[in-house]
Symmetry: C2
Amino acid sequence: MVNVAILGFGTVGSGVAEVLTMNQALIDRRTNQQVRLKYILDVRDFPDSPYKDCFVKDFSVIENDPEVDIVVETIGGATVALDFTRRALAAGKSVVSSNKELVATHGYDLLQLAKEKGVSYLFEASVGGGIPVLRPLTNCLAGNEVEQVCGILNGTTNYILTRMIRAGLSFEQALKEAQDNGYAERDPSADIEGHDACRKICILAALSFDEHVYPEQVPTQGITAITLADVDYANSCGYKIKLLGRALRMDEGKICAYVAPHLVNGSDPLAGVEDVFNAIKITGNAVGDAMFYGRGAGKLPTASAVVGDIADIAKDVKTRKCNEWGPGSKELVETPDALAFRWYVRANGTMDAARKACGELTALARGGAPAQEIAFLTEEMTQAQLEVKLAGLDVQSVIRVLA
Amino acid sequence: MVNVAILGFGTVGSGVAEVLTMNQALIDRRTNQQVRLKYILDVRDFPDSPYKDCFVKDFSVIENDPEVDIVVETIGGATVALDFTRRALAAGKSVVSSNKELVATHGYDLLQLAKEKGVSYLFEASVGGGIPVLRPLTNCLAGNEVEQVCGILNGTTNYILTRMIRAGLSFEQALKEAQDNGYAERDPSADIEGHDACRKICILAALSFDEHVYPEQVPTQGITAITLADVDYANSCGYKIKLLGRALRMDEGKICAYVAPHLVNGSDPLAGVEDVFNAIKITGNAVGDAMFYGRGAGKLPTASAVVGDIADIAKDVKTRKCNEWGPGSKELVETPDALAFRWYVRANGTMDAARKACGELTALARGGAPAQEIAFLTEEMTQAQLEVKLAGLDVQSVIRVLA
């Protein structure tokens, strides 16, 4: 018997309980164990829940019950969740988490604690929701030097951009629709400002390059400045605007990570990832490009990833599933300033002035553009080089083009 | 120290040697072991190879060397490869294979033997080349009842279809080009007749539904009958023709598996998978759809998957990595005859006659069609129902539409 305790009965936590119940027979068969839900910790009461006998309000009940093997942390945030995760690991229990903020900020410490205690700390659900990506990255691709990770890591912003591209909605209209459909929070800033994607690229970078990358080391730009004009111009040259998190291996073992909107070529499989779907493309020195696609959020998809981790631990509770990375450092992480890109630029002025400023460029056109509006793609250059060239122009929008 | 022996120094075998050497330091770090190539078995001589000291011609040298922990079988076929795999497992060595034919025909027996001997038999490279898919399916998605697996499993045929769609080449021209580029064998029948995809869907079905599905149980149709006219008609209604392997969970624990060309809607991510790339979409009752994309063949991508398996075993040689399925049976596997599809039909005749025969249908048009040619999409029906309706028509082409 393997006993599980769930911390937090919100969307993900209740989904985990549902999947454990719904698929109990097959999980037991595949793990060769009886995997059972013993506790659910929540401050609220759920008198009508089918799991009503499992609820407790005091974490120490779980912490002190030697029968609990696996603690599932679906509380979110990095305060209570951090405290309970530490205490669970310290009590010799393995922890499975969907909490990207906690892993991105305290992953190194928590993995060290898990190692010390000989237990597992797994968090497949923290990136890409239900998409299997962290375990394939660390196991199946273990023979690869990872060169780059690039992904559509946030379903809310991808939904908004898809609706702007396909239905011609403005950013504000698309955001409102996402909120009405339950794809965006009342306070959408963590999504639309890119912070959610930032936490996920931190985790992917750490697993790819074996060193912790902290959110504050990752320049992060969201999609609030994207207009329909930009979407139209991108479309006119066969590109789609996507919010990407990227992490790249640089010279001398350094890492570059950032989050920003990009123009993605229509022939890139990332361009075809629509609505709330996520996709993560990993480039290794043997495999080339491999891409993982699916639902990046939602109750059952996220629960699927959590239960996958539970099953992995349950198969053999005594053997620690290794995940480990170094503590990282200030010097290790570079900004994308040194990277050269082609750039999309929208400005007020004349193409002559733009050519004088930027040299060789590709002019773009769209129907219904104001008379003074111009847009173009530059040659490859760094952001600093671009800024020098654009200094005299009335620039409205600048977006990287993904090579 | 973990010692590896490679059987067969062809494309994949030499790729495995190359990746083990190129990425030795990181493989050692990630496995916490020294993973070293000790033998390469090949009947040929390679006096100029950097691995020339590793070559042996007699398998019993490997079989009888207690220092060999992992045998990599990249011979292919099911004769010598079967014998050597059995002997390696019997000698207590774990085996890693890229050999889809062997796994699809003898997987059950070999997994039973591995279990008996307490060793691992892993074959991530046998499906999807470098794409991590078998381990994610069995581990990350362990909490899901798999409902369906559907994939573009053969790069050669996908390349041919892509060239027909994008460059307007005929099947014969595209095949010739694929051969010239090294994407197709001189004898391309295993690819273009669908046998390669058939073996792969057998393996995916076994891992999804826990019972061996044998190639002879899987109705298999290739792409040799696909014409440019069909490609054009598909395009006219927003579809692309793709060769798919599919395995579905049916009522009463039965399995349906088959290989056939399908019209795939442009909005389905499978439609965007081009050239030699493969993609496998897995539908689970918790995760929904998850898709895995990448290079389905090639020296280094396939070697990447093999080395991932080697690393998984090397981390902890004494612990068997479980993969297991039942022996299967005749009664367990159904043909797709009971499944209802919309159908694409091309015929000589009139749309009036077609409507009289088939009832409600969607007429298709293409530029340059001969006067007597018609094409249409039917409503949903089984193959038997379709055949009755089409009996009086001069039918040229019939292709399933993927729902």
